[in-house]
Subunit: 365 residues, 4 copies
């Protein structure tokens, strides 16, 4: 569970630099006998793909190739290797500024850690790396669906504009979000968000927001206390996504301002089974899922690449300079972050279900 | 890194139920040759200990015994086993309600996961478990201090009252916090916080808050991208603490409302070295520490044990009932949570430093 | 799975030095709802206990205390902490030679690794550490028995004397071995073995041997290829026991001298199911159990502590000296190693079964 | 450290089926700044490559492509993804027997574990998988060489013929072995070995043998007691290689027949430093390297694919049948196993050195 591998039983290892030959991943521990095709994976990759009028101009097909682990349309229980070639690579804008440390980026910290960095397109620290996460997450999501568990997300907030989903079902939220350029199911809010994104781009600036992901119909009993609690594991999964600065579950930071009598979810009988009258817990109590929807929110910082001039340092000359980051960037990464957060949550839930023995190692017919 | 073990090289495994014989932990991977005494550990345990006019009436000495791994005042590099006997145990109030699922607690989820639970004092899901974390964290903190890294925390917010630390140094914050009953360095805010806690107790209710922990003087280069980023690892460490519902780094959720030009920390030359003009990043960029202070905040929910009547279910009769939780509880857990968050952050940082090779396996004289 | 922790889902962490306060372990991941009592554990500890006319004179009661994880006679699914106090400790013979590196021991290598060592009774490198393994293994063995899997062992060879078990059933082997002072089910061989041990002791020397452990009735499908194959995992488990210098499965090293047509086990129908006419594979093919008995053998070196004078070095003066190791030692560790090998094999099999989903996390009534 | 991943800090994940599109691996945790080229890796792959008059007729170029982790000739500290396309694939001989379980193979056990298998060329259980290990091992070996540690091996025994290396230096052994078709440095033994292999092939049979690998000039202090002892870790690494049935260190099984006074290596002063007069320990004491050569031997079973008729079962009809395995197979896998054992030992040693902090995360100039 270190470095470039995530998971315990259902595990993924990702690799690849933004402007290298390819990015890819190896999914190990997926149960054998799962029907799978590259379409299932491609669908999720297409959701994350650059493009659209609000996004970067880099045009990547992001076509996935499955190299192993699948035989006659079914998983073998052996590692599934997937590869996406990098095609539309233009490293020139990066070459000009390769000695300048881009503010808000990993340029300085990668140098501090590794003493060397691939400056082309951000190298390994580029958000392009998340394509491999989405490919792996697509398998996890597909596996979860087979067990009746659904994972969906949307832009809860962008540039200070909040989205209101009161009264919408999970299906409505997900469906409406997918139809929106900003992945916001509330059409009024979506319009405002778009305006603010366009305005930020015009100013050579960028904006951030909040992604919410919901796990619908999870089983109770997931999570490994006391350290690998389900919420801790989800926090680990989500905070490790580029640009995420905060993670909360259920009422989250708002819980800090509530009284116990307000925050505690009353326990009730629902359809003859134990359930909860409210869901401030976000589906997790004592680090273990309670069977209610799992609600996760991630704070996404504004895209660090902006064309406004910024103060920085040339690490070779050790002199302060001004930098203007060109390249091709999203003024707001939030809409494209939605499938990435979904992917990481799906990976965590699939692994937790396998750890709890709720998904067998070998699926039947 | 699953279940009851935390860490990769510097690792801790904790054990124990609230009303069992004892709680304890095994710290494995601590470098050999570290001067250590039980006083170092006791000091941190005393900070977490129940007591004080705002806290539970359970009176535990929480005296730690070191059973292995230390020889002639130095660590051997072998596992350090520590044990704290449970002494002031009174399980009667729990016996009366052992078939009722306490709202906000792990009663239901532990049953769902394990099919059995130790109902006495919350068993393994009790916050008493964190005593073992603090004991282990004390060793991590002590080790970090030897390498010039300090970890300190305080109550940033309680019951909606915020604390202002503008202009205070790390040392001042820590010192003033320790002198306050609520661990808040801002004496005016502290007074208000106390009032709200006392009021909540009077109402048979409880309040929550926010803990901030600062890592002073960390080395740059910590964190293992892409999954075990330093912020992801800290989020994992902190979200796994009982009652934590959210974790943020640096500007955190506020970052979601900032523009790139506001959020990006300008890179500058400070004392001849590369540094940052501001610290919205909270000391972490691209998942790797940048050498600046690491800033972590945790949202703590209100104590779930309240004496106000609540709706719940008797899981044996499957009937809805009303519950009044007696026992001995803190109306606000935030002040006692401070050393626990510090402990978990210390464990994560010590492990990350060892993974990065910045702390040798064997310390010299 | 590093250092002092073994296992992935069913895990044990051991701690303790030979002449420290105690030795112990924490078993994490044991399914909830398993009936357990300290007698089950004590029985296995008694098999490993020093004593008997061929063994060390150190007299340890080795009485185990369960400190957590068990409630009303059943496991909770939480960590089971077990502790054995060190009582009959006499460090004086070690004090005299504490600057001399005992040949065949870890004295030099622990110094090289840790820069410090607890010289009293070998400290952490003492075989006393295996008491904690046996305690943990006893739980694993007990769990396996519930699923119809039995683990038993015996001294296959001591001081060059081989034991013949042809025609004996698993039950006979185990039963007869337990009645023998050398744990050898072949009474003639046993007599010879004893003579050689007594002779070695008289000469101030020691002898080694081979332990064989059989897993009876294992399920097919255990093992995680390609690296954590079941045989690889067992080899890891067994080679990590003090004094083991070789591990083999089934035909083992003899396989190297066979032809394919001799070594391949013919596949046949047995009782309407797929089976094998012979068992050269030792129950494992391609790293996965085939349902046949798993056969493991471990080469145990002669006890390194001998009273014959040996050449060594005083690491403080860096001068060569002669050493005579006093203390209280077994002239042959093989009989007491049998329960230790069983324990490690049991731990590996229990973990492999949980990984394969064949033992649920929560046992029913 | 489960399934298809090996290692803790220096880690490799392999993937690929014998007759799938490709095989490959991801090496994670390799230090940054290591000079590397595909030639370094190709050289080792060529040593394992099919071909030569004693080997399978499958002709694979085994050309490695590096897809990530290397920039301008140096490692980045990020995952190194390597890929080898499968080219000379002929699945027809496997199609005819796809319902018959090949004796000595994983056919039955993979079905038992996964319920599905890729029958083409043995799928994931094919020794072709080891190409990916050798690619990863080549990087480990190259890294070790930079720190003065060399790893080399040879065929110690084939078909009952032993090789005598008395008086040869490490360099001589390695050099002479590489010049021999059977990788045996003793030319007389080599001739006999070849004869026996050719004879076995003529008979439609196969033979096995023993591989010895030597680690020259390892540092003292490697290994993580008590479970991840260096010998345990090596045993894990080597026993997980297809066809290995036994592993021994130093005197190995022979130690079981020695007396303590014979087996204990006298400790002496050599060139002003502590050393050992003999090396029965095989360079490891108490699970930690002592600085002497590390000696590992692996028992390799005879190739299970033989053209002699064998008894087996058709798992669809559940009837006993006779099987003749065609395909293209080595009558003796031992010579080609040498670089595989070297690879696994190199991976274990590199990881152990990083765990001990003896190889930094970031190499300088």
């Amino acid at each position: 569970m270190v470095g470039n591998t995530f998971g315990h039983i259902f595990r993924v290892t990702t690799w690849g630099e933004s402007h290298g030959k390819a990015v890819g991943c190896v999914v190990d521990g997926c149960p054998a006998g799962l029907d799978i095709s590259s379409e299932v994976i491609q669908r999720e990759l297409d959701r994350r793909k650059p493009g659209g009028r609000l996004a970067t101009k880099r045009k990547e097909e992001d076509k996935v190739e499955i190299l192993s682990g699948v035989f006659e349309g079914k998983t073998l229980g052996t590692p599934i290797s997937m590869l996406i070639w990098n095609k539309d690579v233009d490293s020139r804008p990066y070459e000009e500024i390769k000695d300048l440390l881009r503010p808000g980026h990993a340029d300085y910290t990668y140098l501090a850690k590794f003493g060397i960095r691939d400056w082309r397109g951000g190298g390994r620290a580029s958000a392009r790396e998340t394509a491999a996460r989405v490919a792996a997450g697509a398998i996890a999501k597909h596996l979860l669906a087979r067990f009746g568990v659904k994972v969906g997300g949307y832009a809860k907030e962008i540039a200070g504009v909040s989205c209101n989903v009161d009264g919408m079902s999970f299906e409505e939220i997900v469906e409406k979000a997918e139809k929106s350029d900003v992945r916001c199911p509330d059409s009024e809010a979506a319009k405002l968000m778009e305006e603010r994104i366009i305005e930020a781009r015009r100013e050579g600036d960028s904006v951030g927001g909040v992604v919410e992901v919901i796990v619908k119909n999870p089983p109770a009993g997931l999570g490994e206390p006391v350290f690998m609690k389900l919420d801790a594991y989800i926090a680990y999964a989500v905070m490790g996504i580029p640009a995420v600065k905060g993670v909360e579950i259920g009422a989250g930071f708002e819980a800090a301002r509530m009284k116990g009598s307000e925050h505690n979810d009353p326990i009730v009988i629902k359809n003859g089974r134990i359930g909860f009258a409210t869901n401030n817990a976000g589906g997790i109590l004592g680090g273990v899922s309670n069977g209610d929807d799992i609600i996760v929110r991630a704070a996404i910082k504004p895209t660090p690449s902006i064309s406004k001039p910024q103060r920085t340092v040339n690490f070779r000359t050790m002199k302060e300079e001004e930098i203007v980051v060109k390249g091709r960037h999203d003024p707001c990464i939030v809409p494209r972050a939605v499938p990435v957060v979904e992917a990481m949550v799906s990976l965590a839930i699939a692994d937790a279900m396998m750890l709890q023995g709720l998904i067998p190692r070998c699926l039947q017919g």
